[in-house]
Amino acid sequence: MSYNILLCGVGGQGTVLASKLLAAAAEKMGETVHSAETIGMAQRGGPVTSHVRIGKDAYSPLIPKKSADLIIAFEPSEAVRNLDFLKEGGAVITNEVCLKPVTESLNPTGYDGKEMIEFLQKTISNLVVLNADTLCEELGSSKFFNVAVLGVAKGAGFLPFSEEALISTIETSVKSNFVEVNKKAFLHGVEVGKK
């Protein structure tokens, strides 16, 4: 198998955990996995990307441009920022809830994410737009979006792993008192993804 997944968002959104779960699930399926995080200088509020590369022929730590099979974006402008990693015909799952830059109050840009979503809708045929707040409503907190979105990716048929591999990864990788809620988040995501 050769499959590249790029996760992107803003520091603090939980992209790193999601990428670790994907890597661990792929390993469970007997695949070779490499991944890399790019975090730059920002502690919080800066763009963050995780590159997950599944397969024996992946040598570059980062996914080469135009080679990602799937982009999972936690924020709409981050999806656009990383769009040149997507390969032709690749899929994008994005949260439509925008996070304004922390400098927005000083230098208002009027950014609200809508333009980003419209652009994605025009450009990407294989697009799933989610609303993290709605998706996570019954989970009690939108911080579970990082696991729920993996469920959506699975449900929509974008992930080359079995549901069991992902669930057992959640069981072994997440702190014990958060296992149940994360499993619930994942399964809820799967249902949403199937639609």
């Binding site: 803003v10 670790k20 890597a23 661990a24 390993e27 070779t32 996995v33 490499h34 991944s35 890399a36 995080e37 790019t38 730059g40 200088m41 920002a42 502690q43 919080r44 509020g45 800066g46 763009p47 022929d57 992946a58 040598y59 570059s60 730590p61 980062l62 996914i63 080469p64 441009k65 135009k66 402008s77 981050e78 656009v80 920022r81 769009l83 040149d84 032709e88 304004k100 830059p101 922390v102 400098t103 927005e104 109050s105 000083l106 840009t109 950014y111 333009e115 980003m116 652009f119 025009k122 450009t123």
Partner: protein, 603 residues
């Protein structure tokens, strides 16, 4: 044996432990910091001595001492740290070592979080010592163990040079979780060997220059100097480090173009290279930063009068500055190989206008005490001429608007000494130097002694948040903790400053704006060297227990936003709000608000 999915730096740490390392030390610096952190976390029975040394030079010297006694030693730093350690390393290269001594100097092409794009491979050549250049996490794990072997075989310190994409990449490695440190033979006195004198240096220099070609020949059979291709190829790609990974990504298992991977840039494995290039007419060199392999290759071909065309940085085929990428390398090789280049449009041509994603520049965290310190100095000095010399750490971000409080930033500790230089050019301007607590211990103390001795006029502002925040919260001599997990006496910055003869040393809480301003004004009115210690913990270390809220007294003047630029405060029209999830309740905004419209609440 245990299989684990780990970060490159963890793999390097586990590799050193598998090699039986006895002592691991260094100074934090991105992208190298996780190596020492990992060894400290996995140090069973405290069998390995692990420390964050006060700076890279101290680390190198601690390791040199232990190595003389036969211990295997690992020293880690980022590449600019190697500049600090170079005094010790250069001499050590002449004296040599007893126990294996491996110096990890992590390069940061880009640079992503550094001041320079220097290349450690050149440093190895300058010091006349071997250097290893891994191209993957898996290789790094194996290669660090080889580095110890070669260090002991040739009794020389060796450099090990990963780059950010190796340090911060993840892969699975299998390692022995029960590896134990080696037995330490003990120090055998031998002043003819361990005391450096001109005569010894002259003798050893000669030995080193004779030895290096022999190491190069040894490296010609080294397992990670790799060749793929077939006889009769007239084109070859020569690559090293992350450059090899990018070249391999494009070429995969193709054999019509030879791929030569160089894992030991110095001493250059000449026999291996010449053999790999038999029949080749053109070579493309793929490497990051300095055209090191390219120049070595040109020299090798020139010396041997071999006519092969060499393409690379000198010929403009690849850039001299910045980080390489897989797609850029793919393009370079495709052009070289005469392959068809897939030109995808970017973005797809029918998409029309692509909106620009907003910039997300790094800023000081909400509630960061540095913001309050900078703001207090700015306010206290608003009617006076003042220079603000900054330094290396989170507080470099004090340069951002609206604070705009960093006029200079050069290298570790330089703010303190540069403030003195500025003072000697204009004694009417008040000169401030801002330095963090860890940087103060690393390289600030000599600068202060210099100021006191030479009677400079300056105000030292120590931004003491009791941690090394920027690199991931490592302890330092002022924190009362060390990497062996011991609680130790805190070294008092105040006592150091007083001990050096500074009479006015004030300690204030920067979150008390009025008190901070008063201390600053008091120092600005006094002659000589003055110091203010702004003491308040890093907000990333604790869960906040309080938060600020905006009451209906707010008139929407937005002074809080304009003055301090806290990321937790935002406005829509006249409505100003504080993001409760970010706010730490530092109350700086409340102290700035002219209406008293911001109140503190328990979370």
């Amino acid at each position: 044996m245990k299989k684990e999915y780990v970060m490159g730096n963890q793999a390097i740490a586990l590799g050193a432990m598998a090699a039986g390392v006895n002592l691991a030390c260094g100074y934090p610096g991105t992208p190298s910091s996780e190596i020492v952190d990992t060894i400290a976390k996995r140090n069973k029975d405290k069998a390995i001595h692990v420390e964050w040394s006060i700076n890279e030079k101290a680390a190198m010297e601690v390791a040199a001492g232990a190595s003389y006694a036969g211990a295997r030693c690992l020293v880690t730093m980022k590449m600019m740290g190697l500049n600090v350690a170079s005094d010790a390393l250069m001499s050590l290269a002449y004296v040599g070592v007893e126990g294996g001594l491996v110096v990890v100097s992590a390069d940061d092409p880009g640079p992503i979080s550094s001041q320079t794009e220097q290349d450690t491979r050149l440093f190895a050549k300058y010091c006349r010592i071997p250097v290893f250049d891994p191209s993957s996490v898996e290789e790094a794990y194996e290669m660090i163990q080889d580095a110890f072997e070669y260090s002991e075989k040739y009794k020389t310190p060796v450099l090990f040079r990963p780059t950010t994409r190796i340090d911060h990449a993840y892969a699975s490695i299998t390692y022995d979780e029960n590896a134990k440190p080696k037995e330490i033979p003990g120090f055998v006195k031998n002043s003819k060997r361990f005391v450096i004198f001109p005569r010894l240096s002259r003798m050893n220099h000669e030995m080193i220059e004779k030895r290096n070609p022999a190491i190069g020949d040894d490296f010609s059979d080294y397992r990670f100097n790799k060749y793929q291709g077939k006889e009769g190829n007239n084109k070859a790609v020569l690559a090293g480090g992350a450059g090899y990974a990018y070249a391999k990504e494009y070429l995969q298992d193709r054999t019509d173009i030879s791929l030569i991977g160089v894992a030991t840039p110095h001493p250059f494995p000449e026999r291996f290279i010449l053999k790999s290039l038999e029949g080749v007419e053109e070579v493309l060199v793929v490497e990051e930063l300095f055209p090191y392999l390219e120049e070595e290759l040109l020299k090798l071909l020139g010396t041997n009068q071999i006519k092969i065309k060499v393409l690379g940085k000198h010929t403009g085929n690849s850039p001299l500055a910045g980080e390489n990428t897989a797609e850029q390398t793919a393009r370079e090789i495709a052009l070289f190989a005469g392959d068809e280049i897939a030109e995808g449009s970017d973005p797809p041509a029918d998409a029309g206008y692509m909106p620009a994603p907003p910039m997300r520049p790094p800023v000081l965290c909400a509630g960061c005490p540095h913001r309050a310190s900078f703001y207090a100095v700015k306010q206290a000095m608003k009617d006076r001429k003042a220079n603000f010399s900054g330094d290396i750490g989170c507080y470099t971000l004090g340069n951002a608007m609206p604070l705009d409080m960093v006029d200079t930033c050069l290298c570790m500790g330089a703010g303190i000494t540069m403030a003195q230089g500025l003072h000697w050019t204009d004694s009417k301007t008040v000169n401030f130097a801002f330095v963090g607590d860890s940087t103060f211990f690393a390289s600030g103390m000599t600068g202060i002694a210099n100021a006191v001795y030479n009677e400079a006029d300056m105000i030292l502002c120590v931004l003491d948040n009791s941690t090394t925040a920027m690199t991931g919260h490592q302890p330092h001599p002022g924190t009362g903790m060390n990497m062996m997990g011991d609680v130790v006496n805190k070294i008092s910055i105040e006592m150091i400053l007083k001990g050096m003869g500074i009479e006015k040393v004030l300690t204030v809480d920067p979150l008390d704006l009025e008190a901070a301003k008063k201390a600053i004004t008091e120092c600005a009115d006094a002659p000589g060297v003055k110091a203010i210690i702004f003491k308040s913990s890093c907000v990333a270390l604790f869960k906040p227990v309080e938060k600020c809220v905006i009451t209906d007294k707010c008139i929407g003047c937005k002074k809080c936003i304009r003055e301090i630029g806290c990321p937790a405060i935002s406005a829509e029209g006249k409505k100003v709000t504080i993001d409760a999830s970010m706010c730490t309740g530092c109350t700086l905004c409340a102290q700035v608000c002219p209406m008293g419209a911001i109140e503190k609440e328990v979370r």
